[in-house]
Amino acid sequence: MIFWMLPNSGLQSVADMKTMLTEFSAEHPDIAVEVRVLARRALWTRMFLSQREGVDDTVADLVQIPHYWTALFSRLGVITDLNDLDPALSANECIAPLQPHCFMPGTQRVHSVPWWMDVSALHYRVDHLQQIDSNPDALFTKWDGLLSACEALARNRRVHNYYPMENANARGSFTIREMLPCILNRGGDLFSQDLSRASVHREECLRGMEDYLALFRKGFMPLLRERGSLGTVAEGKASIVISRRQSESIFAMGTEGEVPVRTVPVPGELFGSNSYLSSYNLAIMREGTAQQEALTLLKWLTSNSRQQKYARLIDAFPCSNAAFEGFIFSSRERLSTYAAIVGSARTLPNITVCGTAVKILDEALGRLASEIVKNRYSSSLLMQEMVKAQVEMDYLLSLYGD
């Protein structure tokens, strides 16, 4: 059985998965699992090509997808209706905001099951920040406060290759998903409320994007640099990170013992603090040849205890009600930190065009990243790219609106 997964824990992805599969193989010695790690771009291409004739690439049986791909790939028939394989499978187990992302739009048929999730938050090193302000939490109530903190940190900390902020983007660049909290905090969004139009060209959305881009433009966060060449919060070569992962690994990874890290919501502006909640779901490919085996592994991985175990391994969050409650109620600190963050979190909509729209936006942002590092960026460039993206997204919505 072939399992296509995303690089959930970077270069550790296969090793982490093997840890999980050791237990699975002991329980199911008859099911051999071959894990292939694919970047989102490659996975997207392979999923599309899976339904085309004459493409001789092997097709996976089980596949991990971002939650907002469910609508598209269920509609295209790339992933199978899980209720055909197991009528008892339901979305009720996962936390409420993720439930709509399990279904083909307009139906109650489960096509993917959430495996784990992440949610954006700001983590900072208390020891670093206390050197510039006695109450660092207060700095992070507004976006301007974050910029001021970064400015002060850049001035005060003279360490080679130090940046006030660590770039949590795995590619070393940025995507619309990292920008979403800023966009939401300015009152913007990617789509209109009724999901019939794109709104990425609107002023509030552009201002949210500009907020995030300022971190790169002002040199507070590295952009398109060698991964590994830069320090992390844990190593003391950065002091703040906006990430969707837990900060537990930052505590654990301190080279000189435990690193004091605090987690707060992403600083807001006019519309408070919003987070982006994203789940990664498991689905079964229609063209796969081992669907029953895939279903066995899907159910095994999404069970409460395995969700919890894997989420802990990769520093993410479990997403079933029971497992998430187990996580959040395990300590007073977690409860106080994450109750508000998850409470204000938003997902991307489960509409057919969402995956394509995100791809269009990420390509536009890729071009902007290149302009930023070449010092050729301007707000008008952002505007141009977003107007083009909006036209494209509107066109898609007119063709494939749900």
Partner: protein, 510 residues
């Protein structure tokens, strides 16, 4: 043979095995280099010149290769940039452990072998990043030299693998196109031809969507016909009608340009418009897109489609001509009513259905009164107008399932499936009345106009007859009865001639 030469030779031999595809070769190559140079990690990067970015495509670590992305901006004048231009190797200054960048350069297909770049093959550049996570284990000069040798050998094999893949793709394409040509010629009917052509294009080129719009010169419209999606599902586009006027719509502008050139969408390289031309005029517009996938349409596909455009246009034109000929052989040119042969086929089918599902059916026989006199007095042109008008009235008063026919001369038959005697009575009465209201202007006539009337006789299955022949005979007998007794009226066989006919049969008013 010294140690390095021997190692390089071994590497060459190992790589020379046949690999299924370039990705597999690269994956195996990285693994072998890692083993030969005792690396902890090795990554393959591709150079994106427009963005000045080195983009990681594949990384080997811990006995597995993974597709994990990393992007590095490489400014001009930087040492890494010089390495990419082919001068030596570069030891990373920023990484906390020894990491050596070694250039690779190979002839291969562009990742964008779509619309943005010219040329199907060109030299591609990249780099291998060889990493040892132990800080103190640096690369010796001999190892750097060996690293370059291994990278060169890998480059050489990548060129071969890419070219093999290209050749294989081309062969597959040629095969697909030959099959597609067969599809174009395989169907004569218009609807079937359009469906098969669109499905064939979608299947062989693998587009997200293929759409077809036909130019209707009479109505000055571009009419949506069919759309085939990525799953081969066919949808009607009949609801899409675009005025064929300059500026009304992009599609209209393309059709009106009467230019056979394939057009790539101004804003997207995922949409292509292909005007289909017949005798120098655009007859249809074929639109293919990869909008959902967002994969640029490949240049090769574009070339193939452009060269097929003429053939597709001809196939469609032939299919439409065939339909026209079919129509001519089945429909009367003057009245647009079906002809006798077509009627007879349909009559048999309807009788079979009526018998099988125990449904009623009626047959109406109409004869225009004094039609010979009309022709003799006012001329055949007026006679033709009279027949056209009567046909129009008949068509306007029938249900969708009813089937009229010009049976010959001024005789018209109407098949009324699922109609009982009461239905037939209602329809014939209405027809009789509306025909009597027809006025044809005849300037040279005394009254300036011609009044028409027709006699109608109807019979009903199964009450009056059990077979098609019997039903026709009963309707004909009834018509004869009306003609002789009350011209210009309508009657039912059961009412006037059947076993239960009354002494004073009801003649339907007109």
């Amino acid at each position: 043979m010294n140690q390095s030469t021997e190692l390089l030779y071994r590497f060459h031999k190992e790589l020379n095995q046949s690999f299924r595809d370039p990705q597999e070769l690269l994956s195996r190559g990285l693994e072998m280099i890692a083993h030969h140079l005792k690396l902890d990690q090795i990554a393959f990067f591709e150079w994106l010149p427009l963005e000045s970015i080195l983009a990681q495509r594949l990384v080997w670590r811990g006995e597995v290769t993974m597709d994990i992305e990393e992007e590095i901006y490489v400014p001009e004048q930087s040492p890494l940039r010089s390495v990419l231009q082919g001068t030596g190797v570069y030891l990373s200054q920023d990484l906390a452990y020894p990491a050596l960048y070694v250039p690779v350069q190979w002839k291969g297909l562009s990742k964008n072998s779509g619309l943005k770049f010219e040329g199907a093959k060109f030299s591609r550049i990249g780099a291998l990043r060889m990493e040892r996570l132990n800080k103190s284990w640096t690369f010796s000069s001999r190892e750097k030299e060996l690293a370059q040798g291994l990278a060169e050998e890998l480059s050489h094999n990548m060129s071969h693998a890419d070219m093999d893949r290209y050749t294989k793709d081309q062969l597959q394409r040629a095969h697909a196109l030959t099959e597609l040509t067969g599809v174009f010629a395989s169907s004569l009917r218009r609807d079937d031809a359009m469906k098969l052509i669109l499905q064939g294009i979608q299947k062989y080129f693998g587009f997200d969507r293929v759409r077809l719009y036909l130019v209707n010169q009479e109505e000055q419209k571009l009419k949506g016909e069919l759309s085939v999606d990525v799953r081969g599902h066919v949808r009607s586009l009949a609801h899409e009608q675009i005025p064929l006027q300059p500026g009304s719509h992009l599609f209209a502008d393309i059709a009106l340009a009467n230019n056979s050139q394939t057009i790539i969408d101004k804003y997207r390289d995922t949409v292509v418009y292909i005007p289909l031309m017949v005798q120098g005029k655009t007859s249809a517009l074929l639109i293919v897109d990869n909008l959902l996938f967002q994969q640029p349409i490949r240049r090769d596909d574009l070339t193939s489609l452009s060269s097929f455009a003429g053939q597709i246009a001809l196939a469609l034109d032939n299919a439409m001509l065939f339909d026209k000929v079919q129509d001519l052989s089945q429909y009367d040119e003057l009245t647009k009513l079906p002809l006798r042969r077509y009627f007879n086929e349909r009559f048999q089918e309807e009788m079979y259905r009526a018998e099988r599902f125990s449904q009623p059916m009626a047959l109406v026989w109409i004869d225009v009164d004094y039609f010979k006199e009309v022709n003799d007095t006012y001329g055949h042109q007026i006679g033709d107008v009279a027949l056209k008008e009567i046909s129009r009235v008949i068509m306007a008063n029938l249900r969708k399932i009813d089937f009229p026919c010009r049976y010959g001369g001024d005789e018209i038959l109407i098949l009324l499936p699922q109609a009982r005697a009461a239905d037939a009575r209602r329809i014939t009465t209405r027809l009789s009345q509306e025909i009597a209201e027809i006025r044809i202007p005849v300037p040279f006539a005394k009254t300036g106009e011609l009044h028409l009337s027709a006699s109608l006789g109807a019979a009903v299955y199964p009450e009056d007859a059990k077979t098609t022949e019997e039903l026709m005979q009963r309707a004909d007998e009834t018509l004869y009865w009306v003609k002789s007794k009350c011209k210009g009226k309508a009657a039912l066989y059961g009412d006037v001639l059947g076993p239960g006919a009354a002494q004073n049969p009801p003649i339907l008013p007109s």
